[in-house]
């Protein structure tokens, strides 16, 4: 079980309201990703749930039990930190066994659970090493091992992959997803990387300046962004936002079109000049300066071989236009 309910949660550091007031329900077994730019309060929110920070006001329940002022140890949660936060003076075995030891488990039980966790995480051969003798990926696995042996009601991940190189990040991302599928335990995952958010989450919570901009499944956020902030944050490259006469013609203050929803056409559309073209093999990203719509990013197929200075015509695919009102809210 691991249903977490936050009601009117507020956190202030001195005069500064980091989280001005927020309500959120995380269902049991869900993989929830908190995403947002740095300083948006996502890590603070996670630390509030963990109990590492005190709420300024509001309440928090885990499985219908009030934990608003309970210390971290009594919340039944496990956390994986960005810096791994392993105990450098203990072997891998002792690191993983530490939560069990604190819970008063017998040495036999500790050994049994450590062995099982090490097997799942491919750490069996490293149990007697110190964290300093392991690679980044192995350290992160030890940190995960330390979290799973407790059998917590929910896992909290605070940007766990940001210290790893790109290739390892992809592997670890898949491992964490698989872990969630096999354990079926609630997971809350903080990241600023929207690719991680899109690929891992059942539900994404987009945060900005301590407020929730939108909560929804990755596809909901992609297809129906609630406002320009979410539209710009989810999806890579970013959605093109166009104002002025083109937007007014659609009865909106701003219109948005994703780079992959701009087609290269021979007639009509918006005429422009290619500024920058990046060939990735599978895709070609173009920056096109148009007269009517300003600078637009286009995601074209890899075969498109346009170069700097070439003339093109762009047209939005039918039904893929997003309309936003004066305050940036979707119409």
């Amino acid at each position: 079980m691991g249903k977490i309910v936050l009601k009117s949660v507020r956190k202030a550091f001195g005069e500064v309201d980091v989280i001005p007031g927020l309500d959120l329900t995380i269902e049991d077994g869900e993989f929830v990703v908190f995403v947002g730019p740095s300083g948006c309060g996502k890590s603070t929110l996670l630390r509030l749930i963990a109990g590492l920070e005190d709420l300024t006001s509001g309440t928090m329940h885990i499985d219908a039990r009030e934990v608003t002022s309970a210390p971290p140890a009594q919340r039944g949660l496990a956390m994986v930190f960005q810096s791994y936060a392993l105990y450098p003076h203990m072997s891998v075995r002792k690191n993983i066994a530490f939560p069990l030891k604190m819970a008063g488990a017998s040495p036999e039980e500790q050994e049994k659970k450590v062995t099982a966790a090490a097997k799942v995480l491919n750490l069996t051969n490293y149990l007697d090493r110190r964290p300093g003798q392991l690679s980044g990926g192995q350290r992160q696995r030890v940190a995960i091992g330390r979290a799973i042996v407790r059998e917590p009601s929910a896992f909290l991940f605070d940007e766990p992959l940001s210290n790893l190189d790109a290739a390892l990040r992809v592997t670890m991302r898949q491992e964490i997803t698989e872990l969630h599928q096999s354990l079926k335990t609630t997971m809350i995952y903080v990241t600023h990387d929207q690719v991680e958010a899109m690929t891992m989450a059942d539900k994404i919570v987009v945060l900005n300046a301590g407020r929730i901009e939108q909560v929804g499944s990755p596809m909901e956020l992609y297809h129906k962004p609630a406002n320009t902030f979410v539209a710009g944050f989810i999806g890579s490259p970013k959605m093109n936002l166009i104002g002025g006469a083109l937007a007014a013609a659609e009865g909106a203050d701003q219109i948005g079109i994703r780079p992959e929803h701009l087609g290269i056409v021979t007639e009509g559309g918006w005429e422009g000049t290619v500024g920058l073209s990046e060939h990735l093999g599978s895709d070609t990203f173009l920056k096109v300066t148009t007269g009517q719509a300003g600078v637009l990013t286009v995601r074209a197929p890899g075969e498109v071989m346009l170069r700097h200075g070439d003339k093109v015509r762009l047209a939005p695919m039918p039904g893929k236009l997003h309309r936003f009102g004066k305050d940036g809210v979707a119409l």
């Binding site: 109990g51 590492l52 210390p71 949660l77 496990a78 003076h89 530490f98 819970a103 330390r146 407790r150």
Partner: protein, 276 residues
């Protein structure tokens, strides 16, 4: 760019280093040499060196005339005792200052350090009277308390610096893993700070061992440590330099040996927080 080290520059720096070291160490060296001279040779003018008459008599006489083992034991109890008691109080204090600082923590640390700037003699009379009134004058426990209080600011400062080096995420991880405050300090913080705690311990044993003002002021005979032992050889009848030197050498020898063997740890500990 790395600085070029020519052989000439190296020779010059080595020479300079040896000169400075010799100047600093010379008084100690002279004291050790004097301890092996006869009284006449010790006070001879100009000072005698190669032509001096050497003897071991001073040591024999000092040993016979006084109860060296008792002074030695008192020094051990007072210096080790005051350091351990100080560590016991300072570890929780430094923990709270490093990991849960309040708005006034910095001021508190500065205030503690400022107490070391006050001349000790200013509080001599009150402390003397207080110790008499409490019945701990000339007792080992009294000196343990006095020296612990004298060195507590330094112990807290040193530990605070070491603790600041420990990432707070590791302590938070321990809290998430179910450790209460006691377990967090016992299983995570202390083992990680062992190098720092060890050098704090060593330095404070040395400071307490060398302390003379309070140990002489607050003792007569029973609890007198080696500093009082040295002082007892400067008699009103006149100074006997050779015997005084022999007594001094016997007093500093144990701590000199300890310092010699732990110098690596001491230097490492003292520069612990210096480089990130």
């Amino acid at each position: 760019m790395a600085r070029a080290t020519t052989p000439r520059r190296k020779a010059l720096t080595t020479l300079a280093a040896w000169t400075v070291a010799l100047i600093i160490f010379f008084p100690v060296l002279w004291m050790i040499l004097t301890s092996f001279k006869t009284e006449a040779s010790a006070v001879a003018m100009p000072p005698e060196f190669l032509g001096a008459s050497w003897t071991l008599e001073n040591y024999a006489e000092v040993w016979q005339r006084s109860d060296y083992p008792r002074f030695f034991w008192n020094s051990v109890v007072i210096s080790v005792g005051s350091t351990l008691l100080g560590l016991g109080l300072a570890i929780p204090a430094a923990w709270s200052m490093a990991f849960v600082p309040g708005r006034r923590t910095k001021d508190l640390l500065m205030w503690m350090l400022s107490t070391k700037m006050m001349p000790a003699v200013a509080v001599m009379i009150p402390i003397y009277l207080l110790f008499q009134w409490l019945g701990i004058y000339d007792s080992k426990i009294g000196l343990v308390i006095a020296l612990m209080l004298m060195n507590l600011p330094i112990i807290i400062w040193m530990l605070y610096t070491y603790f600041k080096e420990i990432p707070s995420e590791i302590l938070e991880a321990a809290r998430m893993d179910g450790a209460n405050l006691w377990n967090e300090v016992l299983y995570v913080l202390t083992p990680m700070a062992v190098p720092g705690i060890a050098s704090t311990l060593l330095l404070n044993v040395i400071l307490a061992w060398n302390e003379a003002f309070w140990t002489i002021t607050l003792t007569t005979t029973k609890a007198a440590p080696l500093s009082a032992f040295i002082a007892s050889f400067s008699a009103p009848q006149g100074l006997f330099y050779a015997k005084l030197s022999a007594a001094s050498t016997m007093a500093i020898l144990p701590i000199l040996i300890l310092g010699w063997f732990s110098q690596k740890q001491l230097v490492r500990g003292l520069t612990f927080g210096a480089v990130k």
